[in-house]
């Protein structure tokens, strides 16, 4: 018996099956170097078996899905928001021309605006109240300050009056010393301590 033909195998792991049914590797026998003549069951050409074959064929023929049908998310791809089109949605613009929908939109918009204006007015009123309160407070403070100032001024004037009474009595003809002595006389009454 002549030796069987040698074969070059690129990928020995894939020797028995490349995963592709009906490929050369699949059809070839086990890679032990010995090729035997297979004696399979003879093809039955009986008409009674045709039904069974048809059933087997039917079983094998499964439905194949295309990529689109599977709806698998694509990897390593970015789809911008604008590009992605929603499924089952009509293309183009939706116009508003009937009175009812226009009225609905108008009512919504007007309610929004009313609320906005109302809140603005309320805010403005509150601010005005705060401003008014601040103004009154500052006026009050100013008044108090002024009152204190006036009081101090008055008290100073009174003191002056008391202290300067002789000055008012003082007439042109009199000597200036008289006032001074008068002032000194008051001061002289004070007790003094001195260290020699």
């Amino acid at each position: 018996m002549p030796p069987s033909r040698t074969k070059t195998i690129k990928n020995k792991h894939a020797a028995n099956g490349s995963g592709i049914s009906g490929s050369k590797a699949q059809r070839a026998g086990p890679m032990d170097g010995i090729v035997k003549n297979k004696k399979g069951p003879p093809p039955s050409s009986k008409p009674s078996n045709s039904k069974a074959i048809a059933a087997i064929l039917k079983k094998r023929r499964k439905k194949t899905y295309s990529e689109k049908e599977l709806d698998i998310p694509k990897l390593n791809m970015i789809t911008p928001v604008g590009v992605e089109k929603p499924k089952g949605k009509k293309k183009g613009k939706v116009f508003v021309d009937d009175r009812e929908s226009m009225n609905t939109i108008l009512a919504m918009v007007q309610a929004d605006k009313e609320g906005e204006i109302e809140s603005k007015m309320i805010r403005a009123r509150q601010m005005e109240e705060i401003r008014e309160a601040r103004r009154v407070e500052s006026e009050k403070k100013e008044g108090e300050k002024q009152a204190v100032l006036d009081e101090t001024k008055d008290s100073l004037r009174k003191k002056r009056k008391r202290a300067g009474k002789p000055a008012f009595i003082y007439t042109e003809g009199e000597d200036d010393d008289a006032m001074l002595t008068g002032g000194n006389a008051v001061k002289a009454k004070k007790k003094r301590v001195s260290f020699a």
Partner: protein, 188 residues
């Protein structure tokens, strides 16, 4: 020429509502009570928004888009960013339905019509309780609408303002009919 989409309708109404009061709904009300009464609708031709009678809009469909320049009253234009800008041509409609009004003295008319803002010294009278930053229509003392703008101060604040202080920022004035004659109607 086409009707407005939902978004466009919303932006247009929002802009109109900033100047007009509750009477805005009369804009789209039918003219009379008959069942087949005519009514006003909004139409977009190129980027301009027109306020037009429905019967006229239907007639205008016979004119090719490229050949149709204008119809009805031009309210303003839609910008490319989706905003809506009111034009001076919308003044008759705004003046009729305005919520806040300001009347300016004859001495202030010319400065305003030349594109200036309104200062306190030029104010004849204005609507009480006007909030700030809200749409307002400007009238002359003999009740002729001159333009519209946005209030810079509320009425309460404006009382304390100096005579040279601004009370209204101008948005559009009747002087634009002359100044912007070239660009006002051509939407090229």
């Amino acid at each position: 020429m086409r009707p407005l989409t939902e978004e466009e309708t919303q932006t247009v109404f929002a802009k109109l509502a900033s100047i007009c009061g509750n009477s805005l709904k009369n804009l789209i009300a039918p003219i009379d009570n008959s069942p087949s009464a005519d009514r006003y609708v909004f139409r977009v031709q190129k980027d301009r928004v027109y306020y037009v009678l429905l019967s006229m809009a239907n007639l205008a469909t016979t004119v090719a888009r490229d050949n149709l320049l204008s119809l009805g009253t031009c309210l303003g234009k839609m910008t490319k960013t989706g905003k809506f800008k009111l034009h001076i041509t919308a003044l008759p409609i705004l003046a009729e339905h305005s919520r806040y009004k300001i009347w300016i003295k004859p001495s202030g008319e010319m400065p305003f019509l030349y594109g200036g803002n309104i200062v306190k010294a030029h104010v004849g009278r204005w609507t009480e309780d006007t909030p700030e930053h809200t749409g307002i229509v400007v009238f002359s003392m003999d009740d002729r609408p001159l333009g519209f703008g946005v209030t810079a101060r509320s009425t309460a604040e404006a009382r304390r303002l100096a005579p040279t202080g601004m009370v209204v920022f101008r948005q559009a004035d009747a002087g634009e009919y002359l100044r912007d004659e070239d660009s006002l109607f051509s939407s090229g």
